[in-house]
Symmetry: C2
Subunit: 467 residues, 2 copies
């Protein structure tokens, strides 16, 4: 039975090309349970194949033919082969995190073929420290990045002794308990998993009827409200990209970031942005490519119903976006943090004075830049109003497990697009702030150096804060 594809999903499928695969990814690191044998990875792999029924989301693939009158539709895969989608891999020696990130980079570079359901999961062994990894890849036409993270979390438990737990792709009776047990301030708040593409629903509207909504965006941008900035300097991040990807990931204790925030009167999210700002500054300086004016980051933020004047069917959260001036032209780490804090505060104030349609429009920019760029161009807006997207998605605060294996960290892989070659997405988990940096390998050389610079910047911020 074929079912229609909503306009946004179709747009993600149709704008995709070799240079811009439109899938999001997740890297999860696990600790083997006590007493696990040498073949634990294989057992975990076999447990993930052993599924009675596949959830419909993971069973459908895009299909177009004369019989569908050329229309793109979803069709269940009647030859579904789970071994194509779930794979058991290993790392070459010496099995460092470096080899893991190389494998993820490679897996994230390859497009998902339309002829099968649009996802893959790789259970990866061979880390020399004995940890296990899982890399998952899901097309943006199925879930957006945030929902993908939530979906991965939704199958976990806080009970280390629970066994017989199904993987993400198993069909489950009833609804999942998906709300994370906490949500951080200043960031995107909980998105219910059973309304998987709820955030995308907003974008669907933007794409489905470009007229009104895009005019709103364009008006907003031209007005240069405090929430928006039309001026973002050109950087190496803002050029055509290729289909090669590099992924880098690392985590730092949330406590360290929080202490800086406490001592400087800034938020956790401000500190995350300051780390990124300082790291990018060092990176661009080394390439002799730092612009004289500040870089601007698009930062999605969560708004409560009152702030947004919107109450969604799900009980009232909306997503907006702030254009944050990163202060990357400033020499002093403390000055950069101060500048970011002010920019975010102004931005959020600006957002709360926007109309619901304006907030929806802002949201749409963040969710679907690849689709909106041509639309904006039609409105005479040629340059993107920001240099990169930095998202910070709060996750669970407590330790979670899958069939006894402890989740140690979870790192998002995102979608670089033409004109936006670097994406930074962070998520908090169990006292750690996990950074995932996804870039075009050619346009953003030596991406992994940013990890060192993030660490340097955290230390510099601590010093500046007198910690």
């Amino acid at each position: 039975m074929a079912s229609p594809i909503d306009p946004t999903s179709a747009a993600f499928l149709l704008t995709e090309n070799r240079n811009m695969p439109m899938h999001v990814g997740g890297l999860q690191l696990f600790k083997k349970p006590e007493g696990a044998g040498r073949s634990y990875a294989r057992e975990m792999y076999e447990a993930s194949l052993d599924v009675d029924e596949i959830a419909p989301l993971f069973l459908k693939h895009p299909y177009r033919s004369a019989r569908t009158a050329g229309q793109l539709v979803w069709k269940p895969d009647d030859q579904f082969d789970i071994e194509h989608h779930v794979r058991h891999s290993a790392l070459p020696k010496p099995g460092r995190v470096r080899e893991l990130l190389e494998l993820c980079s490679r897996l994230h570079s390859t497009r998902l073929a339309w002829e099968r359901p649009l996802w893959e999961a790789h259970i990866i062994e061979g880390l020399r420290d004995g940890r296990l990894a899982m890399y998952t890849k899901t097309h943006h036409a199925l879930v957006d990045g945030i929902s993908a993270m939530r979906l991965l979390q939704s199958v976990l438990t806080t009970d280390p002794d629970k066994r017989g737990m199904p993987p993400m792709w198993a069909a489950q009776p009833g609804t999942r308990s998906s709300r994370s047990d906490d949500a951080d301030e200043g960031s995107i708040t909980d998105v219910p998993v059973h309304a998987l593409r709820s955030a995308m629903g907003i974008t669907a509207e933007a794409v489905g009827m470009p007229g009104a909504l895009v005019k709103t965006i364009s008006k907003g941008l031209r007005n240069e409200t405090s929430a928006l900035s039309l001026y973002a300097p050109r950087t190496i991040f803002n050029q055509q990209i290729t289909g090669s990807r590099r992924f880098a990931a690392q985590d730092w204790p949330v406590e360290r970031l929080r202490a800086i925030g406490k001592s400087t009167g800034t938020t956790l999210n401000d500190v995350v942005l300051a780390m990124c700002s300082g790291a990018i500054r060092t990176y661009l300086l080394e390439l002799d490519a730092l612009p004289e004016s500040t870089l601007v980051a698009m930062v999605p933020v969560g708004l409560n119903a009152k702030q947004s004047h919107l109450a969604s069917a799900e009980g009232g959260n909306a997503v907006g976006a702030v254009m944050a001036r990163l202060g990357s032209h400033l020499h002093d780490p403390a000055d950069r943090l101060k500048s970011i804090h002010a920019s975010m505060r102004d931005g959020k104030e600006g957002l709360s004075s926007m109309t619901p349609a304006q907030i929806m429009a802002m949201s749409a920019i963040g969710q679907a830049p690849a689709i909106l760029t041509p639309l904006l161009r039609m409105q005479g807006i040629v340059r993107p109003p920001y240099n990169l997207i930095i998202s910070n998605v709060p996750g669970p605060r407590s330790t979670h497990y899958w069939n006894g294996a402890e989740l140690l960290g979870t790192y998002p892989l995102s979608i670089p697009i033409n004109g936006m070659a670097l994406n930074i997405t962070c998520t908090s988990y169990d006292g750690k702030m996990c950074f995932g940096l996804t870039g075009c390998r050619r346009t953003v050389p030596h991406l992994q150096r940013l990890l060192t610079y993030l660490d340097d910047e955290l230390k510099a911020l601590e010093k500046a804060a007198g910690i």
Copy 2:
């Protein structure tokens, strides 16, 4: 600069679908040189990336657009990314041959995307015995299976001390010395590498102008000459296939096979076919699916210029095909071998009395069944005249090396198609007969059992021959 795609290559590209990927593969096993360190696989991988210029064959990809007036053309990849094509992989624990064959099965199941050059090479570490493996995958639109094997061999040397050797995909000054240093009787003889698709050239003609040549085939089949058999029973191999693959490979000393031939007055190739026949018989008996009449195998054979009345520009070899009755309904191994020997002798005699056009037509059946099947059907020939293809391609008799690493064995992966779910291709190398079995995983369950049965059958034949 775009260049035209010949009709056969285009046909391979256009008939391809999810269930019938049209690429051939090769698995090569290497022994590390003396004194190789723990990171030898990585060094080998890095050496294969370190290429000044890519050979044009490995740089072009199919392309079609309004600018090419909808025609499929070859276009050099102007964003060629060698790290997409050459990959460094590892096997999960325990790193047996089983894990290697599983990885090859998986890699062989996935289609090559048109948006990039149509090949991949995977350098694989993690075999517990310390050997290294390389799996290569090349689209049939670039090379046929035999040329692919020759191409792999063409970069090797008999000199264990030679270093600085380029990989297969490097552009090379001058022509390669590609003729293998020996060729076995009764099999396909040498195909020069610099005329990569020479065997396919014949098929191109068959496809390019279906009329005359297909009529010849159809006439040949209807005449039931001794070289042909119109009656092949239906088996589980002759049904629609899926896109899942299983690959199994093993080698046996050529000496053992040769001794059986000597003692029974049969050829090496007869013994290979008898091993296959006995193994398939046991396999089908176990599934309660053995037909009462014999299975028929299509066996490509080499013909010298005199036999074929054909002298190609390359100096005179042509390829024909014999329909070999495998005697799979016979209980006694010695009877099966006798029956195969008689069938092959008659078949080759039949071939030598055929006209050049008929031989070309026979050849075409073997090379491109997926393309010819619909053409034959137009001629009223509904059922394939054989149950499976068994090829035996002679390779070098001496030990070969790549940058000091000794090639231990080389195993071909072929193309199952609808109605022909199992393919067996053998190649001799350095005193070993290397078998590669490629099947649809769903249509041919537990394919790997055939390896055990091949071994059993070799023993049974030795016993029957009084060895």
